[in-house]
Amino acid sequence: MDEGLRSELGKQGVFTTTLEDLYNWGRKNSVWPLQFGLACCAIEMIATTMSRYDLARFGAEVFRPSPRQADLMIVAGTVTKKMAPQVIRLYNQMPEPKYVIAMGACAISGGPFKQGYNVLKGIDRFIPVDVHIPGCPPRPEALIHAFMTLQRKIDEQKLTGPNRPRHLIADAPSEFPVPQFGEHDLVPPSNPKVWQPPKTARS
């Protein structure tokens, strides 16, 4: 619908909307996160949901203990290589459309444990991450900011076109391969369809 006509109608007291706007409005205001914490970031995540920071204002207070009912995975904390297959399997079990917030330095890169033999250097090596939050741990304000960023992202997703949600793309994979716990590392160490090692440009 033409934006000018819409504002003109609005001045006359006739409010119009589209099904897409309503759909996205409903989606972004009722995001149900998976009740799932890995390390100290989870404490900040808990604080975010409690009365002082009150994530319920954004419609996301319903932390679901089952991936079947959740549509947002907040990877809150260090992902060890022992834990990574479980995280990815949980992500696979969530229904579409689903989103991921990688919370804290560990979840986005391995953080202070990056040199450790047992820590996955960022969950984005295996599953697509929508919002990354730096910080060790990020304050609840940072998580709320990430959440608002995600809401904006959901709101901008058209139901048609290249920016449509993943579940409307027919050839998007339904599941991401779960790595096996190998002798020295996860096998494979990353999913090349999701993550490529950054290329260092040397001049």
């Binding site: 089952s66 991936p67 079947r68 297959p85 479980q86 995280v87 399997r89 949980l90 696979n92 079990q93 229904p95 579409e96 579940h167 409307l168 027919a170 998007a172 339904s174 599941e175 779960v178």
Partner: protein, 123 residues
């Protein structure tokens, strides 16, 4: 217009059935129409805690536990009847008192039988 009690019940029954069925049908319709489920082996898996299910769900347990269930029933029934009996005790006739005592005797007899059989000895 006069209301028939049975008509009211019929209407009530119809609404009671329709009320839970309607959201279920709507959800089914919505799922069929709007949500491409992108099913997969893991998404359809029974166990949903991130771990793979292993082993068999058909585990066995000792059937002797039914004795504890029966013994529990003795005390359960006894409690249900003892409380009103105690409340109404002062106003009871002698016949009612004898009747409840016989009833309690029957229950205690079951307990005594189990005791003599050695069920109450934990090894």
């Amino acid at each position: 217009m006069d209301y028939s009690a049975h008509l009211f019940l019929a209407v009530f029954l119809a609404i009671a059935v329709a009320f839970p069925l309607a959201p279920l049908l709507l959800a089914r319709l919505w799922a069929a129409k709007f949500s491409p489920p992108k099913p997969g082996e893991q998404k359809n898996a029974t166990y949903e805690c991130g771990l793979e299910a292993r082993g068999d769900s058909m585990i066995q347990f000792k059937s002797q536990y039914y004795l504890y269930a029966i013994l529990f029933l003795i005390f359960d029934v006894e409690t249900i009847f003892l409380l009103p009996f105690a409340v109404a005790f002062t106003g009871l006739s002698a016949g009612a008192f004898v009747a409840i005592m016989i009833f309690l005797l029957l229950l205690v007899e079951g307990l005594a039988w189990a005791w003599m059989k050695g069920v109450l000895t934990w090894k």
